[in-house]
Symmetry: C2
Subunit: 187 residues, 2 copies
């Protein structure tokens, strides 16, 4: 096994802290302590804490999409893939002890103080929407007959609602409920 590079270790440690404690509550000192490096090394790899935040979000986005790809590898029908997406987000919630969506979290934390990051979050959610749209298009190609844009938007709406509610109540009821509703939307 290859040794983990310093840069990767920094991102890994920082990501974990940003997600669990929040970005503003995580200090540079804590990151270098847990990554077991000197502060000079950190600033050699990242010019500011904000650059580290960007690296964190880029990595989480990659993880999100590759994670879903892996999760839905063996599934062929588009309808099953849509349900796999609900299961995927449910799994992300349980495995993180209901810590919530990385992107919604950072968006809530920065408010309107960091437009570059807000834009990144918006674009990330648009990528998710585009992915869902692909699935709905495939669903229609396989014999379904739903309004693509409308059903795409509805699935997104329900999914985001389920993630937020499950984060607050620390249970998965909202996902099961979402499945039921989407069952009704995809005849």
């Amino acid at each position: 096994m290859q040794k983990e590079k310093v840069r990767d270790r920094i991102i890994r440690v920082a990501s974990d802290l940003f997600y669990k404690q929040g970005f503003n509550s995580t200090g540079i000192n804590q990151i270098i302590a847990e990554a077991d490096i000197a502060i000079g090394s950190l600033y050699n790899h990242f010019s500011s804490k904000n650059e580290l935040l960007k690296a964190y979000l880029i990595k989480e986005e990659l993880k999100w999409f590759s994670g879903f790809e892996e999760h839905s590898l063996k599934i062929v029908s588009s309808k099953d893939k849509i349900f796999a997406l609900i299961d995927y987000r449910k799994k992300l919630q349980t495995s993180s002890k209901f810590a919530g969506c990385h992107f919604i979290k950072i968006n809530a934390e920065i408010g309107d103080s960091n437009p570059v990051i807000s834009d990144f979050v918006m674009q990330h959610k648009e990528k998710q929407q585009a992915m869902i749209k692909e699935l709905v298009i495939q669903y229609n190609a396989e014999g379904g007959s739903v309004n693509t844009d409308e059903i795409t938007a509805n699935i997104r709406l329900l999914l985001e609602g389920a993630v937020v509610i499950s984060t607050i109540h620390k249970n998965t009821n909202a996902f099961d409920q979402t499945k039921k509703i989407i069952q009704g939307l995809l005849p």
Copy 2:
């Protein structure tokens, strides 16, 4: 007009900053500067920044419920009241320039570091749910025949999803979409 009490001014200024900038990004110094008081006065009224946070959330909860009451005063039918609730949250979003839900925001910011606040948020959302349930019960009493708990949960799910999505994308599309779906749920 009576003069605003110092305590009220502190809460008003802090609330605005907590909501717009985030709790962790708002310092005591900024609060006392904008409230135009000395730091000693602040700590005479609130023993810690966390007490100030509690006062903020309690005030926002009161405002939320009284705001909806006022918004839906003249409406009689339960179905119209449910749609008024969607409009109410849409209005809150537009008037705050899509700053999001106070309670989801603070929950995202504190993570699992402050269970008292997390609990408050959970209880607040349960109060909202109870209010929606009353409306659905009334809907059935007025001739509807829907599963009370299921429809209540669905309305909540859609509403929270709409708020989150509208916060990220800074538009109200998700609310109009939510209305359409709820139209279908309430025959």
